[in-house]
């Protein structure tokens, strides 16, 4: 393995560079996935049938908490990469753990939100609107859930092996993923909640 010391560790080998580019392309595919969900959401958002519309069921408080928590987690994952580049493993792991904790809080609030929707009569089977709402949110939520487990796996490896080209590469790619989920959430916040509440 040839290591190029002029680059940050996560970019330092050929394999690492390939993985980062590959992951960017994967994110391109993810953009299409969420774009399709958003397009379907816009088309079906009026299809409430006998069920409630968005304005009737959206609650601003949990949504604001979710937004705040997820945006903060994106900030902490940024700090994680910064600490990683400075070679400070403890600080890096600290920010990593903070990110995962914030992600878990987000997920908890989202689960509360889902329970609320079902409670007020907007379940998966109620109408096309409720189904696409829960599917869009659920796809994002499933990504966050996957991210939590993935993040923990990486964290264990950082703890075990330290900051190597391999572990830093994984952590960096995880940060890309996490930022991406944040971007998707901003779209959900704007075009699902704000638009729906207006």
């Amino acid at each position: 393995m040839k290591i190029d010391h002029s680059l940050p560790l996560e970019y330092s080998t050929d394999e690492n560079r390939l993985k980062i580019l590959g992951f960017w392309i994967f994110l391109g595919a993810e953009v299409m996935l969420f774009a399709t969900l958003f397009a379907s959401y816009f088309i079906l958002s009026g299809g409430t049938g006998d069920g409630p519309s968005g304005a009737e069921i959206f609650e601003i408080t949990p949504v604001l908490i979710e937004t705040l928590v997820l945006l903060t987690s994106s900030f902490t994952i940024g700090l994680m990469v910064h600490a990683m580049r400075l070679g400070r493993q403890k600080a890096m792991m600290g920010f990593f753990i903070a990110t995962i904790v914030l992600g878990a809080i987000f997920l908890g609030v989202e689960i509360y939100e889902f329970v609320h929707y079902v409670h007020v009569g907007a379940g998966l089977q109620t109408s096309a609107f409720s189904a696409i709402l829960l599917t869009t949110l659920g796809t994002h939520g499933a990504h966050v859930t996957f991210g939590l487990f993935w993040g923990i796996c990486i964290l264990i490896q950082v703890k075990k092996y330290g900051l190597t080209p391999r572990t830093t590469n994984k952590s960096f790619i995880f940060s890309l993923y996490w930022h991406f989920l944040d971007v998707v959430w901003i779209f959900i916040f704007s075009f699902v909640y704000l638009k729906g509440m207006m």
Binding site: I25, M32, T36, L44, G51, Q125, S127, A128, F149, Q157
Partner: protein, 648 residues
């Protein structure tokens, strides 16, 4: 017993029971054969766990040929049923199932793996790479495709085949009208295979963008690699749409949502739109690599460099962009109104322009060339007129006002077969003949190959030209029979003759493989066609590391130049080579995905959860595994090179 009742076929027939017996017999024969010849270890070490792009490519191609015969059997049954008016060979339900599986199998499990197989085999060699960017992911792609294909293929003996057409339009595909688990198979099997294809797209984009030999700029890439690059861009941007559509369809069928229902706010046209937003680019995923193959074959056997390299690239880029903005032409009659139809009519017809550019480029490559008429070249020469027939009728269909006459008639069926068979299938057969010596070290017999090519070409015309006529006369597609008074009988009988000719042509190819395996000479060297691109610069058989040292590229056809001018292609000294290790994980994940899909089809939730956990366990294992690959030492490389006739 109640548990097992769900696996029964809702609509049995003697043919299906016979197939069950045949499947059981063949499976037992394979197991017994492998045990008797003690080949299990060989199979596991050399094939099931391999991450080598060449072996994966060959496995893709073998799977594609198997699926070609499955889809071909469907085709023969359909043509036999239609060959006479009011025929009673198949009933309406069987006919529905057969045209559905024929479409899905031929597009997704025959054409796609054929193309991806050649991409796997050829692209890393053409760009001078040792493997793809992510070899293990590549193996996973194959096993996901294979799991999806096998899941789809068992549908007709376990639980019933899908019967809503390969487009599976809602509300027909909803539980109300498609009561068997067939459409569940459709949703889930294609989902699994689609995940594999998406991974292939990411893998090959990274490979082509990052792993080209020193000096090979984008505009010095061989045309097949260009076509693969653009195809993979389309894959990455089109397949997620299918993922979402299939997931929504699955939710509708198994979880009682109303995405595509006509009640509770659902919209059935959303499925049609999402399906074709993926489906039309999919057409170009199939045809662009085929164009790439033709470009290689025509330039090799015209003994000329490809005419209009830049316009070839530009036309492919334009086609890939246009492919995303034409999807509505698949349902002009389904209520968009004149304005929307007009826009999509114009974008559709616009595709003929870049395609025409490519046709003229091939013709001008031939002009003043020293044409060598080998089998691959013959397929390419037959492709140009036949494909043009299919393409021109496509422009006819693209005129939205006129489409009201053609829509859902045999005219449409004739059109897309006339583009797919000469376009894609001829290209794959040309590629099979062209790359066979590189894959297996002997050539397929040229005389038998040419006879086969002519039989297939004439068979294509005989089978599909009559459909243009009966379609214009109003014969609807997907109808299992027609009256004698309609007068369609004669045209369908002619089609039947064509279908049998096609079957004979494909059988001849199989015989040719057998014949050449027995009789063909093995001392053909590494460049039997006197070809122009890098894949012919390495030895045959290709060593696992492809190239002992990296080739240095300075023109579009460096290998050709090095042969003509005697320049050195491989100036470097041998160094140790890093290679990835084999892994059983992709194969195991393929099996788990198969079981996952099977559980999902029958809504067996506990096995489904267990399989899901199994998949995540494999991913976690993969994450924690400390596999850094291995090195091949200089001595080892030198010995291999000496055995193969000296270092290049």
């Amino acid at each position: 017993m109640e548990f097992f009742e769900r696996f029964a076929i809702p609509h049995p027939s003697p043919a299906i029971y016979a197939s069950m017996v045949a499947i059981a017999v063949v499976s037992i024969a394979i197991v017994v054969g492998l045990t008797y010849f003690k080949k299990w270890g060989y199979l596991w070490r050399e094939w099931l766990t391999t991450v080598d792009h060449k072996r994966l490519g060959i496995m893709y191609i073998i799977a594609a040929i198997l699926m070609l015969f499955r889809g071909g059997a469907d085709a023969i049954m359909m043509r036999a049923q239609l060959s006479a008016p009011e025929n009673k060979l198949l009933d309406a339900q069987h006919y529905n199932e057969i045209f559905t599986t024929h479409g899905v199998v031929m597009i997704l499990f025959m054409a796609m793996p054929f193309i991806i197989g050649f991409m796997n085999f050829v692209v890393p060699l053409q760009i001078g790479a040792r493997d793809v960017a992510f070899p293990r992911l590549n193996a996973l792609s194959f096993w996901l495709f294979f799991a999806g294909a096998m899941l789809f293929n068992i549908s007709f003996v376990v639980g019933g085949s899908p019967d809503a057409g390969w487009t599976s339009y809602f509300p027909l595909a909803d539980n109300e009208f498609s009561t068997s688990v067939g459409t569940n198979y459709y949703m889930i099997a294609i989902q699994i295979a689609g995940l594999g294809t998406l991974a292939t797209g990411i893998n090959f984009l990274t490979t082509i963008l990052k792993m080209r030999a020193p000096g090979m700029t984008l505009m010095k890439m061989p045309m097949f690699t260009w076509s693969a690059l653009i195809t993979n861009v389309i894959i990455v941007f089109a397949f997620p749409v299918l993922t979402v559509a299939l997931a929504m369809g699955t939710l509708d069928r198994l979880f009682g949502t109303h995405f595509f229902a006509s009640t509770n706010g659902g919209m059935d046209m959303l499925w049609a739109n999402l399906f074709w937003v993926w489906g039309h680019p999919e057409v170009y995923i199939l045809i662009l690599p085929a164009f790439g193959i033709y470009s290689e074959v025509i330039s090799t056997f015209a003994r000329r460099n490809l005419y209009g390299y830049k316009s070839m690239v530009a036309s492919m880029v334009i086609i890939s962009l246009l492919s995303f903005v034409v999807w509505v032409h698949h349902f002009f009659t389904m209520g968009q109104g004149a304005f929307v139809n007009s826009i999509f009519s114009i974008t559709t017809m616009a595709i003929a322009v870049p395609t025409g550019v490519k046709i003229f480029n091939w013709l001008l490559t031939l002009y003043k060339g020293k044409i060598v008429m080998t089998t691959p070249m013959l397929y390419s020469m037959l492709f140009i007129p036949l494909f043009t027939l299919g393409g021109v009728t496509g422009v006819m269909l693209g005129m939205s006002a006129a489409d009201y006459q053609y829509h859902n008639t045999m005219f449409l069926v004739a059109h897309f077969h006339m583009v797919i068979i000469p376009g894609v299938v001829f290209a794959m057969l040309a590629a099979l003949y062209y790359y066979w010596p590189k894959m297996f070290g002997f050539m397929l017999n040229d005389r038998l190959g040419k006879i086969g090519a002519w039989i297939i070409a004439i068979g294509t015309l005989v089978a599909f030209m009559p459909m243009f006529i009966s379609g214009l006369d109003g014969q609807a597609r997907r109808m299992y029979t027609y009256s004698e008074a309609s007068g369609f009988g004669i045209w369908n009988m002619i089609s039947m003759v064509g279908a049998l000719m096609l079957a004979a042509g494909f059988a001849l190819i199989v015989y040719n493989i057998y014949y050449s395996f027995r009789h063909a000479p093995r001392d053909i060297g590494s460049d039997p066609w006197d070809a122009r691109t890098l894949e012919w610069a390495t030895h045959t058989p290709i060593p696992e590391y492809n190239f002992a040292t990296m080739p240095k590229i300075d023109t579009y056809e460096t290998f050709w130049d090095s042969k003509k001018k005697g320049t050195t292609l491989f100036p470097d000294k041998i160094e140790k080579i890093h290679m990835p290790n084999n892994s059983g994980i992709p194969f195991i994940m393929g099996i788990i995905f198969f079981l996952w899909g099977f559980s999902f089809v029958f809504a067996m939730w506990i096995p489904l959860i267990i399989c899901t956990l199994g998949i995540f366990a494999c991913m976690a294992y993969q994450s924690f595994e400390n596999d850094h690959g291995r090195y091949i030492s200089i001595e080892e490389i030198e010995e291999t090179e000496k055995e193969l006739g000296g270092k290049r």
